[in-house]
């Protein structure tokens, strides 16, 4: 049962004027999406544009009633109240982080929650027979009894698809399916999706890898700032990567940055041939021979899509606090230095403000003054006894100079707004008096006013002759703030652009392909 569009093509799914609000934020505003039966439909947009939210609405993660608008699927208006309901209708979503249980076998995972039974007992013979069929369909030659943890991510992805096929999927949604895969695994997966298309299975694919989208998608819907911007037909409109990028970043740049005259000195911090392995997966590299340098008084941007390895690079430089160090050398003021622990990195004059404030940056049980001094207790203690008076006055000083809005420095950090929490974290690192401060997504989840203040703080630090590295997913932020921008793609630095030659288009191009900049 399908309806036809004006050209007589069958429509499988139509989402009409979907609006989804979270407290204080409109994540989706009037988004429409139309997917034809039997096509591969890509959804593109920057991080935070609302792609995943839209898919969660479709799959019932956000149940009917928590959003406004209609979902028409197979010519009927649907009211999915949970994932089970959408799966029953043949819509299966495969998340970026795979939902497989590592200790169970391939077969057990395929049939998890959906076990074939005979008189209430699992019919393993039947399960085995069917899993062999399914594995053949996805082109995975593995014994169904192999535990999931023993096969690679690429094969795990195939198991997820086999699991979806077992649920007689009609509409398959893949969220960043190739983000964790190497090139040949990615290619195999893309071929499989094309193969499924041949068997009449419709797919929606979310991906940052525009070359892949260009390769397999029939239609592309672009979402920006929670709104659906346009839908492109790849063949008819002659879409290429540049065209997609234009749609994704087409927002107007607002003047949201304080005026700043950079006073750039000489190179004082340099990283050469930095190579780091994945903490768990052998043979997988998260940093591939990266080279970069920072000058005094310079704000250096690091641009890259989520999962490109920006944070991993920063954390591994910051005292080897992430991944398996393989090789590379750090030079500070021309001298080679070894930073084998976070302590050593702090002592050498590095600071790192984490991306995820709540899980990595803050102890939410602490109050402001305890947090402010947490990374430099030495400075306020004598013979390792903390001096309360110094602690209090240091915290007060930063509260005043950063204009943190709080009744007192004895307030718990959990009670502060995101912007004020970030100021406390900045205070903590400013108190260690670093020469190089690495800021990972310094303005995530912070409102515009506070952003402006944080930019001001960053610029002041640079004016003091410190080097600042800013990692951000928001290109306008990097363009407005940085003096120079490195781009990272799949763990490798793919280019570096000066402030005056960088644009959203040029950055996005370097961030989404391994083509080296000339």
């Amino acid at each position: 049962m399908t309806t036809l569009d004006t050209q007589g093509e069958p429509i499988l799914l139509e989402m009409r004027s979907i609006t989804k609000e979270f407290p204080g934020v409109k994540a989706l505003s009037n988004v429409s999406l139309r997917v034809m039966a039997g096509e591969i439909h890509a959804i593109c947009g920057e991080n935070g544009a609302g792609k995943s939210t839209l898919m969660k609405v479709l799959s019932g993660v956000y149940p009917y009633g928590s959003y406004t608008g209609d979902i028409v699927y197979q010519a009927e208006t649907q009211q999915f109240k949970d994932i089970r309901a959408s799966e029953a209708a043949g819509i299966v979503i495969i998340h970026q982080e795979l939902a497989l249980i590592p200790e169970l076998s391939i077969m057990e995972n395929i049939f998890l929650g959906n076990e074939p039974t005979k008189w209430g007992v699992i019919d393993w013979a039947e399960a085995r027979k069917r899993s062999l069929e399914l594995l053949a369909r996805v082109g995975l030659r593995e014994d169904p009894d192999t535990p999931i943890k023993e096969i690679g991510v690429g094969k795990q992805q195939l198991v997820e698809i086999a699991k979806a096929l077992n649920k007689s999927v009609k509409l398959l949604i893949l969220d960043e399916p190739t983000a964790a895969l190497n090139e040949s695994d990615s290619q195999h997966l893309l071929d499989l999706i094309l193969g499924l298309k041949g068997r009449g299975i419709t797919s929606i694919i979310i991906s940052h890898k525009l070359n892949e989208i260009e390769q397999i998608a029939d239609e592309i819907t672009i979402i920006r700032d929670g709104k659906s911007i346009e839908t492109l037909n790849v063949k008819r409109d002659g879409v290429d990567e540049d065209r997609i990028i234009k749609g994704m970043v087409g927002r107007t740049l607002e003047s949201r940055f304080p005026d700043h005259e950079p006073k750039i000195g000489e190179v004082f911090f340099e990283v050469k041939d930095w190579t780091v392995g994945h903490p768990q997966i052998q043979d997988r590299l998260i940093c591939k021979g990266s080279n970069f340098f920072v000058r005094r008084g310079e704000i250096v941007g690091f641009a890259g899509l989520m999962g490109a390895g920006r944070t991993e690079l920063a954390r591994s430089v910051f005292g080897h606090s992430y991944g398996r160090f393989i090789k590379g050398q750090i030079y500070k003021d021309g001298k080679p230095i070894q930073l084998r622990s976070v302590r050593a990195a702090i002592d050498a004059g590095l600071g790192y403000v984490t991306e995820d404030r709540k899980s990595l940056g803050l102890n939410l049980l602490d109050d402001i003054k305890t947090t402010t001094v947490a990374a430099n207790l030495r400075a306020i203690s004598n013979y390792s006894v903390v001096d309360d008076r110094k602690e209090f006055s240091v915290a007060e000083e930063y509260r005043k100079s950063l204009r943190t809005k709080t009744p007192s420095v004895e307030e718990g950090v959990a009670k502060l707004s995101g912007g004020n929490q970030q100021k406390v974290v900045l205070a903590k690192w400013m108190f260690t008096d670093p020469d190089l401060l690495i800021l990972d997504e310094p303005t995530r989840g912070i409102d515009v006013g506070a952003k402006y203040e944080i930019y001001g703080i960053i610029q002041r630090l640079a004016n003091q002759g410190k080097g600042v590295i800013v990692i951000s997913s928001e290109l306008p932020e990097l363009l407005g703030l940085s003096d120079r921008i490195y781009t990272i793609f799949e763990g490798a630095i793919t280019g570096v652009l000066d402030k005056n030659e960088a644009s959203q288009e040029s950055l996005m191009k370097l961030m989404t392909s391994s083509r080296k900049a000339a």
Binding site: P279, K358, L365, V385, D388, G412, K415
Partner: protein
């Protein structure tokens, strides 16, 4: 009402729980017709619980750091029997026995700390194994016999401050101790007040401070009176003295030193602590090791009190110590708790135990009531957190937690969370 709030709220976080303890004491004093607050009973109460309270001091640090130690009873018993044997068979003098016991505790603690901190086995498992191991060692080394200890050593567990100076009708040393303690409290609070004022931080009004000090000093002096007027030969007990010294030392470490800060930091958010340069493995190791040293001390005091070491010493102590810590406001998830709070929590249990005994309530009912009290104390804690508001009892417990911030679950999911899990 407002005045009461000022009196019991504010900076002194333990006041709420102390209030509950006082209410409990008053209740039993009334219903036992005054048999609770007699010199004999109070001395007994201290003597019979000092070793649990010492364990609670170590346990609160372990729990703040986010672990647990189930082995303390067995470790105490093993150290007790080994020290008793060493003194009997190798002829060690009592002081060498004590040093030997502390050292043995440190070695055991290093063993457990190694597995927890450096190998990364959950402390629950390591110390569950330790519980079996050291109970076994106790019975193996002592051949399941009781081993008596010398009079000198018994002084450690059942001694009292000696009689010195003119006959005043009181024990002079106890009086002196009480007066010094009261003076110490007054000087410390006035100094803290002056410091806070100089820094421009909020200070409570003067009358609040004065009333508070009068109440605390009154309690200290009343306790002094009770201890000093006991039956001849008794006074402030030595285990109580050891306990008081330990409370001062560990309260100071937890509150004022870099190491203490690191324990709270690791328990509150290990990743954040590590990314601030805290060596979390070292912290975990130290905390586990310290616990076993204190367990050894508690074991020796118990042996001193019971005049001999036996194969079933210390059975169930770990549970009493853990209960004291949680009633004292520590959080199961780590990062929250105080030394003083745990002592108060332990005293709540001790007073409850003692009062019910005096009332002639059987051991069966006593267990039931203690179980309910533990459950209720933690349930209120959990309830308050989930509601983000405080019930009346929650208000009592309020000042007892290091911080009572409402924590909202993180809405965003990103690659970072994966990294943090992997790291």
């Amino acid at each position: 009402m407002n005045a009461l709030k000022k009196l019991f709220g504010g900076n002194t976080r333990q006041f709420g729980m102390i209030f509950a303890l006082v209410a409990l004491i008053v209740f039993f004093q009334i219903f036992t017709d005054g048999r609770t607050l007699t010199p004999g009973n109070v001395i007994n109460l201290f003597n019979g619980n000092s070793y649990i309270l010492i364990l609670a001091i170590g346990m609160v640090l372990v729990i703040i750091a986010g672990h647990i130690d189930l082995s303390v009873g067995s470790v105490a018993a093993f150290v007790g029997v080994f020290v008793a044997l060493a003194m009997r068979d190798w002829g060690l003098p009592w002081w060498a026995g004590v040093l030997f016991g502390l050292l043995l505790g440190a070695v055991i603690g290093a063993w457990q700390g190694f597995w927890v901190a450096y190998v990364g086995i959950p402390a629950f498992i390591v110390t569950l194994a330790g519980m079996l191991l050291f109970r076994g060692f106790n019975q193996f080394v002592g051949k399941s016999n009781t081993i008596p200890v010398s009079k000198d050593f018994q002084y450690l567990g059942s001694g009292y401050l000696p009689e010195i100076g003119p006959n005043t009708g009181f024990n002079n040393l106890t009086l002196l101790l009480g007066i010094v303690a009261a003076a110490f409290v007054v000087i410390m609070s006035l100094r803290a007040r002056a410091t806070n004022k100089a820094l421009g931080a909020d200070v409570p009004e003067l009358w609040v401070e004065v009333t508070k000090l009068v109440l605390i000093c009154g309690a200290i002096l009343y306790a002094t009176y009770l201890f000093a007027t006991g039956r001849p030969g008794t006074s402030f007990p030595i285990p109580g003295l050891i306990l008081a010294v330990l409370v001062l030392i560990y309260g100071f470490i937890a509150d004022k030193t870099v190491l203490g800060r690191h324990v709270y930091a690791v328990g509150g958010n290990r990743h954040a602590a590590e990314l601030s340069g805290v060596q979390s493995k070292k912290v975990n190791f130290m905390v586990m090791m310290n616990m076993s040293v204190l367990a050894g001390l508690a074991g020796m005091i118990f042996v001193g009190r019971s005049t001999a070491s036996g194969p079933f010493d210390g059975v169930g102590w770990e549970l009493d110590a853990i209960a004291a810590v949680f009633i004292g406001g520590a959080a199961v998830t780590g990062g929250v708790g105080t030394v003083i709070g745990s002592i108060v929590g332990g005293l709540v249990m001790a007073v409850l135990n003692n009062g019910l005994q005096l009332l002639g309530v059987g051991a069966d009912l006593t267990q039931i009531i203690k179980g309910l009290v533990l459950l209720a104390a933690v349930a209120f804690d959990v309830y308050n957190k989930s509601q983000g508001k405080r019930s009346i009892t929650g208000l009592l417990l309020k000042n007892f937690q290091r911080n009572n911030n409402e924590i909202k679950p993180d809405e965003t999911t990103s690659t970072k969370e994966v990294i943090s899990k992997e790291a």
